[in-house]
Subunit: 263 residues, 2 copies
Amino acid sequence: MNVLIVFAHPDPRSLNAALRDEAVRELEANGHEVRISDLYRMEWKATVDHDDFPDLPSGGRLRVAQASREAFAAGSLTADVAGEIEKLRWADTVILQFPLWWFSMPAILKGWIERVYACGFAYGVGEHSDRRWGDRYGEGNLAGRRAMLVVTAGGWESHYGERGINGPIEDLLFPITHGMLHYPGFEVLPAFVAYRVDRMDEAGFRRTASDLRARMRALAETPPIPYRHQNGGDYLIPSMELRPGLEADGDRGIRMHLDRSRG
Amino acid sequence: MNVLIVFAHPDPRSLNAALRDEAVRELEANGHEVRISDLYRMEWKATVDHDDFPDLPSGGRLRVAQASREAFAAGSLTADVAGEIEKLRWADTVILQFPLWWFSMPAILKGWIERVYACGFAYGVGEHSDRRWGDRYGEGNLAGRRAMLVVTAGGWESHYGERGINGPIEDLLFPITHGMLHYPGFEVLPAFVAYRVDRMDEAGFRRTASDLRARMRALAETPPIPYRHQNGGDYLIPSMELRPGLEADGDRGIRMHLDRSRG
């Protein structure tokens, strides 16, 4: 299997980096091929701007989706972005690994999503009709591949639990797991989250690394989060609302999009 | 009132920028003072890295929270970050305005949060004991101030509704409204969201601008989202879980943190 790890921590001697190295060793020991996009090391350009679209007239308006669609179609995306798209096409599984900063991914990784997810590649794909609303949420160019988050958090696990003050980690990560990964087609595995990493001692690290290695060994068999496919009949078109009665008892809002009969 | 608008769109001729100008005119016409941090125009540095901490030895490890705490205490934060902290101290109300990109804020604005929210200023504040878990979630250095999001989205409103496929907009924005705004102390007003902005005609713009101006006139009186205060007795310490039975019927996960008796 081909595994791409997109890594977003600024310190090569961090616990994060040590966990990444554990994952890589385990994957390679199991015969997988691994490539890493180490965003800080690559000095990844984090902001989408006019410079991303060399063909755009220099005084022209920047309509990001339109410029992105044209550049993707013309093959005129910048080399750094084109290189990442090629890695995504190569990968069977994509892992985004990052410290949870302000309950979301670091800016540098958000900027990777914004720039690499070209229009026509990761969105704006497929037919729009009364039966389909484009190829997204389980369909699209990245369908058939798996994705997973590996996250470190400073806070306690209970603070991120069902009743925890920060909100449940699954709900906090929903804009990423559902919105950035399921949207362009990935099947999304449950996130691996390590808590209280600022206070982690050597024994804690060994336990965490061992858990992470087990997740790496199980990459191909781990059941994905059972997000619904958009065009499978569960949603009304064009309102894109879940048909009445499909949700499990007690599921409201974002949790409705889990098909617990598959879960 | 002093109003700070932190603005994150790359195109000065965008609908976003036009809406910002409408808001500014309305606020100034009502006697408020307005300052704008136009992040793209400022070429805001979006990534936290070693360069943010000039006092840190050049080969040293980068522990972001610790480096940030030391730099904030020593007054050695970089000038751009110190300038934004000064604006936050000046402001009675802070507005973050941005296009919703991949169900979250643009990387450049996320990087503003990461760099400006220094340790000792926006987090890592206050006493930790069996009665208090620091000053956060309604307390802290930004308590007593108001904050609000102004967001534009390409998708339809129903796609972001209670049953919409993207997830309800309030839930998608929770990591921002609760995690980035309520956390350092702000009272957070309901977000202003404009939908289908890529297809908006002149009449649609006039309606949207009129709605936004009304929200600007009502800034001081709009009831905030009734997020709970951390140290008011609703949460167990140190697990920081909501005490059993406090949530409204049917509220689970992130919605538990709404005190609907205030709402």
